[in-house]
C-alpha cells in the first residue's frame, strides 16, 4: 500500500487512510458533499427569489432596469476566465509544473479582485442611491423616478433584499475564495510539502468553480431578468 505513496513522491498519507487513492477519493467525496450543502444554501434564496418574482413579475421586471447589465456581463466574463485559469492551475498541479501553477493561481486571484472591484462600484452606487433595504430606503429610486413611480416601495425593498442577500452571500464566497487561493499560492511559492498533493488544488478548484456556478445563475436572474 505504501508503494503508491512512494511512487507518487512525497504526497502525504494521513494515518487514518490506507493509501493515497483512498485519501484522494475521500477528499473528493467530502468536497462534493460539502458542495451539496452549498447548493441547498443558495437554493433557499433562489427559491424565495423565484417565488416573489412570480408574485410581482412586472414590478421585478421594472426594478431590474436599475441594475447595470454591462457590469454584470463584465463580471461574468471575469469569473469565467478565473474558472479557466483555475482548471489550468489544477492541470499544472497534476503535472507538477509549480511555476505555471503559481501564475495560474495568481491570475485567478487577480480575477477575483477584479470581480470584487466591479461589485464595489455597483454596491457603492446602490448605497448612494439609497437602495439598501431598511429604514433609510429611498423610493422611487433617484436613478429613474418616472419609471419607478409605479412600483411600490415594499416590492422594491423585497427585490433589493434578495439582490443584496444573494449577491452578498456570493461576494462573501468570493472573499473566502481569495483567502484560500492566497494561502494556496503562498504554499506553492514556498514549495511547501503540503501542496505536493495536487488534491488540495483540486478541491479549492471545486470550490472556486462552484462560486462561478452560482454567478452563472445569478447573472441572468438579476441582470437579464427574463420577462
Amino acid at each position: 500500500m505504501a508503494h503508491d505513496a512512494a511512487h507518487l513522491g512525497k504526497q502525504q498519507v494521513y494515518e487514518q487512510f490506507e493509501n493515497i487513492d483512498q485519501q484522494n477519493e475521500s477528499y473528493l467525496v467530502g468536497m462534493w458533499s460539502f458542495l451539496v450543502t452549498e447548493v441547498m444554501f443558495f437554493g433557499v434564496l433562489l427559491f424565495s427569489y423565484v417565488l416573489y418574482r412570480w408574485q410581482y413579475q412586472d414590478y421585478f421586471y421594472t426594478i431590474h432596469k436599475l441594475l447595470d447589465v454591462n457590469m454584470g456581463a463584465v463580471n461574468t466574463v471575469i469569473l469565467l476566465s478565473s474558472s479557466y485559469s483555475m482548471v489550468l492551475a489544477v492541470h499544472f498541479a497534476q503535472i507538477k509544473k509549480r511555476s505555471a501553477q503559481l501564475s495560474a493561481l495568481l491570475f485567478t486571484i487577480g480575477c477575483a479582485f477584479g470581480f470584487l472591484i466591479i461589485k464595489y462600484f455597483e454596491y457603492s452606487h446602490k448605497i448612494h442611491a439609497g437602495l439598501v433595504p431598511g429604514p433609510k430606503f429611498v423610493w422611487p429610486a433617484v436613478d429613474n423616478p418616472e419609471l419607478m413611480a409605479n412600483v411600490p416601495a415594499s416590492v422594491a425593498q423585497m427585490f433589493f433584499s434578495l439582490y443584496f442577500a444573494m449577491t452578498g452571500l456570493h461576494g462573501i464566497h468570493v472573499i473566502v475564495g481569495i483567502l484560500i487561493l492566497g494561502t494556496l499560492s503562498f504554499l506553492v511559492w514556498r514549495k511547501s510539502s503540503l501542496v505536493e498533493d495536487y488534491m488540495i488544488t483540486e478541491m479549492i478548484g471545486l470550490y472556486w468553480h462552484f462560486v462561478d456556478l452560482v454567478w452563472i445563475f445569478l447573472f441572468p436572474l438579476f441582470y437579464l431578468m427574463p420577462r
Binding site: 410581482y56 413579475q57 412586472d58 409605479n150 412600483v151 411600490p152 415594499s154
Partner: protein
C-alpha cells in the same frame, strides 16, 4: 370537584364525524400497540435465555411473504384512514352557501368579532343553534389560530391574508375559544367563550344589541358605506365605470383581467388587497392612480361587506332575503332554495367569465 372528562363535548355537526374517525384511529392504535406489546412480551418470555426447553433450530432471518404482509396491511389501513380524513377535512373547510358571515380580527391579545349587523364582541361570540357559520379571519399583527375544541375546528389567523373556519353548532351551551398559535407574552389569555343560543333567544339577544351594547350600532354595511363616503372613494368608484376607476357594482364573483395579464376573481381577499395595496392589481385599461389608504383590518372588513352589498351578496342582504321568504324561522332548506335566486345573477356573470376563459386559453 369536577368529574373527570375524557372527551370534549360534541358541539357541532362536524364534531361527531370527527370523533368517529378519531375513535377509529384510536382503535387502530390500541390494537397495534397491544399486538406489538403482547407479541414482544410473549417472545421475551418464551425465548428467555434460561428457558432451554424451547426449539431454537431452523432460525429464519428473512421471509419475503412476512415482510410484504406487514408492509401491505398497514399501507392499506393507512390509505383508508387517509381518504376518510381527507374527505372529512374537505367538508369542514368548505363553507355552506347559507352560512352567516362573521368577521374576526385577531390581535395581540384579543379576538375582535363583528357580526354583519354591526354588533361587535371581544373574546366572546354569540351564535344561534343550527345555523352554519363562516368565520372570516385576519390578523393585524402576528399569526394566531382560532380554535374551538368543542366544534373540533381550528385554523391559523394570518396577517395579510383572509382565512376561514366553518362550523354548524348543534348543541346549546358555552364553549371554549382558544388561540393555539403562540403569539407573544399573553398568548394564553387570548381566549374566551362561544355561546350557542336557541334561535329565538339569539334573535332577542341581537335585537337588544347584545349583552353589552344598549345602543344599536351601524351594520357593517352602513359602517362600510360611511367609510366609503368619508374617505372619498365614491369620487372615483361611481355607479358606472369612469375613466379613472371601475364601478364596484357586481364585483363579487366577477372574473377580470389585470393590466399585467393576470386574471383574478373578485372576492374578499381581492377587495382587501385592492384597498391596502391598490398598486398590486390594476384592472386592465386603468392607470395606477389610487392612493394607499391606511385602513385598519376592521375597517377593511366593513368596506368588504359594503362592497359585497353592492353586488347584492352581503350577509345582511342574504339574511333579509331569507327572512322575507320564510319568516323568522331560518330553516336551511328554505334558505337554500331562496339562494338559488341569488345564483341567477351570478350565472350571468359566470358566462362572461367563460368568455374571458376562452379568450385566455386561445391566447395561450
Amino acid at each position: 370537584m369536577k368529574e373527570l372528562k375524557f372527551a370534549p363535548v360534541q358541539g357541532s355537526e362536524y364534531a361527531a364525524q370527527h370523533d368517529a374517525l378519531f375513535y377509529l384511529i384510536t382503535a387502530l392504535t390500541v390494537f397495534f400497540t397491544l399486538l406489538v406489546g403482547v407479541m414482544i412480551l410473549y417472545l421475551l418470555i418464551k425465548y428467555r435465555a434460561s428457558n432451554k426447553n424451547v426449539d431454537r433450530s431452523n432460525r429464519i432471518h428473512h421471509h419475503l411473504g412476512l415482510e410484504l404482509t406487514w408492509t401491505i396491511i398497514p399501507t392499506i389501513l393507512g390509505l383508508g384512514v387517509f381518504f376518510w380524513g381527507m374527505l372529512l377535512y374537505k367538508d369542514s373547510r368548505t363553507s355552506d352557501d347559507n352560512a352567516s358571515d362573521i368577521y374576526v380580527v385577531g390581535k395581540q391579545w384579543m379576538w375582535h368579532f363583528q357580526h354583519p349587523n354591526g354588533l361587535r364582541e371581544n373574546n366572546e361570540l354569540h351564535i344561534p343553534l343550527g345555523r352554519p357559520v363562516k368565520i372570516t379571519m385576519i390578523s393585524q399583527d402576528v399569526i394566531h389560530a382560532l380554535y374551538i375544541p368543542q366544534f373540533r375546528v381550528q385554523f391559523h389567523t394570518i396577517p395579510g391574508r383572509y382565512t376561514t373556519v366553518n362550523f354548524t353548532p348543534n348543541a346549546v351551551g358555552k364553549f371554549n375559544l382558544f388561540c393555539t398559535m403562540h403569539c407573544g407574552a399573553q398568548h394564553s389569555e387570548m381566549g374566551g367563550y362561544v355561546y350557542v343560543m336557541q334561535p329565538d333567544e339569539y334573535d332577542k339577544w341581537l335585537a337588544n344589541g347584545g349583552n353589552r351594547f344598549t345602543k344599536k350600532a351601524d351594520t357593517m354595511v352602513e359602517s362600510g358605506r360611511k367609510l366609503f363616503v368619508e374617505n372619498g372613494c365614491v369620487n372615483c368608484h361611481q355607479e358606472k365605470d369612469t375613466y379613472r376607476a371601475p364601478s364596484l357594482k357586481g364585483l363579487i364573483g366577477k372574473i377580470r383581467r389585470m393590466n399585467d395579464g393576470r386574471v383574478l376573481v373578485g372576492n374578499e381577499s381581492y377587495i382587501r388587497e385592492s384597498i391596502l395595496m391598490p398598486y398590486n392589481n390594476v384592472l386592465e385599461g386603468y392607470e395606477n392612480v389610487m392612493p394607499v389608504y391606511p385602513f385598519t383590518e376592521e375597517e377593511v372588513t366593513q368596506l368588504v361587506e359594503y362592497i359585497k352589498s353592492l353586488s347584492g351578496v352581503s350577509s345582511e342582504q342574504r339574511d333579509a332575503r331569507a327572512a322575507s321568504a320564510v319568516g323568522p324561522a331560518k330553516r336551511r332548506d328554505d334558505v337554500a332554495k331562496q339562494n338559488n335566486d341569488a345564483n341567477i345573477t351570478k350565472q350571468v356573470e359566470a358566462t362572461s367569465a367563460e368568455e374571458i376563459h376562452s379568450e385566455v386559453t386561445s391566447e395561450l
